[in-house]
Symmetry: C2
Subunit: 116 residues, 2 copies
């Protein structure tokens, strides 16, 4: 079996750095394709292809304005990602706390050594 399709879910769609750049760019405000091309310095066909992937998984929305297509990020589709990563929050707080503890123990030991 090969890797899952980039359009299988947002996790796969977002694995490509350019697509993350596009999402970030389109989060601020609605933009036409040409603006993405110029601002991010990506070839137009590539941009169109990336946008198609993003559309397929619902990460962006489009509307037409004459000859222009206006894209914007659909932030809601990013929530599953955010929520999945959030399940680890408690864990990294623990790890941080333990690192802190160990640091404090080291300080304590050094203090003792100096006092001895």
């Amino acid at each position: 079996m090969a890797r899952a399709s980039t359009t299988s879910d947002s996790f796969n769609a977002v694995a490509e750095p350019r697509r993350r750049d596009i999402l970030t760019y389109l989060a601020l405000q609605e933009r036409e394709v040409g603006e993405i091309v110029h601002s991010l310095g990506i070839e137009q066909p590539s941009v169109s292809k990336h946008l198609k992937v993003l559309r397929d998984v619902g990460l962006v929305r489009v509307r037409r304005n004459g000859r222009h297509m206006l894209y914007r990020t659909n932030a809601d589709a990013i929530r599953p990602l955010h929520e999945w990563t959030s399940t680890f929050e408690r864990l990294w707080r623990h790890q941080l706390a333990r690192a802190k503890e160990r640091a404090e123990q080291r300080v304590q030991k050094n203090t003792n050594r100096i006092q001895d």
Copy 2:
């Protein structure tokens, strides 16, 4: 060019559903490979291969205990993902707020219609 390597960063590593399952499983507590195999119902060679990818990007840590390898999730490596998705939080709050507004306007209209 082909797709970026699964080991190029955590975004790519985490795109594979099995690997997310493994990370979630290993977040609760340190486990040996055999436990992952049995609990998640994945073939042993596949588990080993997924674990290698996760190790390569620092998403899991290992230590040996006799014949057993004990793996655990390194939650800290998930933070970049969490932080990237967080940049969209404000945006989806706006979108939610606007959806709420629209809903309220609809209620208002209905009320008016009933009163008229």
